[in-house]
Assembly symmetry: C2
Homo-oligomer: 448 residues x 2
């Protein structure tokens, strides 16, 4: 799996020696996914050279595996004939992916290079919403008719196999292209040659609509352990299939999106390095500014306790107790957000969660309070203040647990993305709550 660094050096040596014949012979030995990693390590001019030496099938496969910014760079360098040849042979879903990332002007020029039917298909696919099943699907699937027998179905599959993304499922449609059944190649191979497709096909199959979100598609494939899922249009006509390899990428993408949102960033689908500097700055700064503005509430609260703040030793414990509260809240929020994302927590579990998190908060608060007192004693802290801090800590951890658990659930009920109610947002709420709780406890116990 590790790219052979030696391979890169050998390729570079052949290029330097201009020994293109040996290079051309060596390239087909490399797996496309490995060649992609090798290309990333070579300068652009050498990438172009390697593409010229690849056989068409492999060139198309390697090109499809590149990141979109690399594809764009190469397309600019290709001749129109070259670009045309590769674009025409790409799978429709890979092509739609690429066009999605390019500026509209370039897309129009490139679409014009395609034959009419592919052009229509592209225009149709690009009209589906971002991240929908319609964007993700391929139209290269196997069709069968219900009255075919098994022998002729298998014969048909063998005939059309070279052009299809998967041949392991075949889709049975009627005259109006309505999907009426699915049959797996395994079922066909196990059945008698004379049996009819309609008698062995699954009629209670799972399908998705072109407009369904890719996350929904991924969940369906995952739940039912499928290799592919059919996509139907709003009139229930079969228009494509989504295969499991594309869904794996979606699962990673959706997790990355959640990681970013939970760190208070607008989600980006591109990788760290392929996201431009200012694009990335923009995605980060908006949330940081919003959160900074929210921190003004801590100022208001602290001004309110200006007199209490004169007891300097109270301040010594402040970062510790609001920080610990923030940590507990971040834990709760993460558990709930992830549970909601993988579908094992439902908003209906509201009361069970409140119950569990409350008890957990009290237990953890008690333990942390004890640790605080012991470590305070060792550190030579003002013990009166340490007792105040530990009592406040119990209340703060309990509140933090509840805030961390409830806010994602409330977001979900309001049809918002629970992932935005993660660490940073919880921390600020716990900071404000924590300061109030701490100083109220202090005022009460110190009688001021």
């Amino acid at each position: 799996m590790r790219v052979n660094e030696i391979l890169v050096q050998e390729i570079e040596a052949l290029i330097q020696k201009k020994d293109y014949r040996s290079l051309k012979e060596a390239l087909p030995e490399i797996l496309p996914a490995d060649l992609v990693e090798i290309l990333y390590l070579l300068p652009t001019v050498d990438r172009l050279l390697i593409f010229r030496l690849l056989k068409k099938d492999m060139a198309v496969e390697v090109f499809s595996l590149l990141e979109s910014n690399e594809q764009e760079e190469l397309l600019h360098l290709f001749t129109d004939d070259n670009a045309k040849e590769i674009l025409q042979s790409m799978a429709p879903d890979d092509r739609a992916d690429l066009f999605d990332e390019l500026p509209a002007g370039i897309v129009n020029r490139l679409i014009a290079l395609l034959p009419q039917d592919q052009r229509d298909l592209m225009n149709r696919m690009l009209n589906y919403p971002d991240n929908s099943a319609g964007r993700l699907m391929t139209t290269e699937y196997v069709n069968l008719r219900e009255h075919m027998n098994v022998a002729s179905a298998i014969h048909h599959i063998r005939t059309v196999a070279p052009d299809k993304e998967t041949i392991y499922y075949a889709y049975v449609i009627d005259d109006r292209r309505y999907l009426i059944g699915i049959v797996s190649l395994r079922q066909l191979l196990l059945a008698q040659d004379s049996m009819l497709v309609e008698n062995i096909m699954h009629k209670d199959f799972i399908s998705v609509k072109t407009t369904d979100d890719q996350e929904y598609v991924a969940k369906a494939i995952k739940k039912y352990d499928l290799l592919a899922i059919p996509v139907v249009d709003l009139e229930n006509r079969l228009v494509g299939i989504v295969t499991v390899d594309d869904v794996i990428d979606v699962i990673d993408e959706e997790a990355t999106e959640d990681f970013h949102k939970m760190a208070a960033m607008q989600a980006t689908e591109d990788s760290y390095f392929s996201t431009g500097f200012f694009m990335l700055a923009r995605k980060r700064i908006l949330w940081l500014i919003l959160l900074l503005l929210a921190y003004n509430f801590t100022q208001i609260v602290l001004r309110h306790y200006a007199d209490t703040l004169k007891i300097i030793s109270l301040i010594f414990f402040m970062p510790m107790i609001i920080g610990t509260g923030g940590n507990a809240g971040t834990q709760s929020a993460t558990l709930i957000i992830r549970g909601l994302a993988v579908g094992e927590i439902r908003p209906l579990d509201f009361f069970k969660i409140v119950f569990k998190e409350s008890f957990m908060g009290i237990l953890m608060g008690l333990l942390l309070g004890i640790v605080l007192i012991i470590s305070g004693a060792i550190m030579g802290a003002d013990m009166i203040i340490a007792y105040i801090a530990s009592i406040a800590l119990i209340v703060i951890v309990l509140s933090a647990n509840l805030a961390g658990a409830l806010l994602p659930l409330i977001a979900k009920l309001l049809k918002l993305d629970p992932a935005i109610m993660a660490g940073p947002v919880i921390t600020i709420i716990v900071d404000i709550l924590g300061i109030v709780i701490y100083f109220e406890v202090a005022k009460f116990l110190l009688n001021i």
Copy 2:
């Protein structure tokens, strides 16, 4: 995809009416993955009843899809004959999964119910490390020999298909069971009947070892878009395959593990509700105590600035600037940790990252400083202090970005899990740094 609530009600009605005949007829109509969700909504006694009414194949499939704590509960209620029947028919990887979660005493009793060959296989699988390819693999794959021709290979596949987890790849082994090639069913169907397997099989295939971590297996399947990957032992003999559906679960599990670690929790593989209260408390409290102890440094630092703290209005800005620093650091850490996890950032990119994060930190710090001054003016803050805070903020955001980016990279270089260097750990470091920077800037500018 949504479980039909009506279906649950209908099933409950049939159970109440004791109309088991209708129930028995209705059950095979439900997809196993849906029936699992329905079972979770029914009381245990009804679950047992439904299992008695299911045909064996479906019972095994549904049982395999249940969470391990549910499986354990049912096994206690099954008769020994019942348990034996289900255990014997489960796929080896599902069975290893279950045994992994059960107490050793019960496992020994259950293993004794299996025939000798399955018993040996289980003992061998359970000896592989946790989360390794050996645990994840199934032994139900199709073998071919190199000298077979295509027609007899297809005939062989049709014969053995019912017992195999996938028939879409076949694995070619020699006399010593060494894996020498892989051929897909698609290739076989496209080839002439008289061709030999050895002439069409892929010889440059990807395989993993029994001891390889499941994350490595998932990355290989993802990278090469495979439906299954062969697993070989340390002597390179073929012992099993891992299929893509199991890998999808691994990808989700690994992401969940990272989410938990990044929220400063010990990772748990079980779901929120199936993790016991005290188990979950233990996984959370250890990190919270460690972080609380680390917060003692903020106390030491604050004591050092006891005189400066007498300027109460300095304290008003403290939560805001250390909180904002923590947020910026959390963003950087998350970007780097996720980038490392999906393999698009390598430790080699060290300098590129330092460069990008430094400039990003200065730019974001400047913008945030301006927002701080404006919002301070609106809020009627002490403007001298607001200027001090905004200057400190630039340095703090820069330091936070660098800490957030570098600590995960350093962890990776030290072969530690980068995910532990996330939000909570970064926040505490930025809190300490932030307090020092803020009060040093204040002392310098206020000339004290």
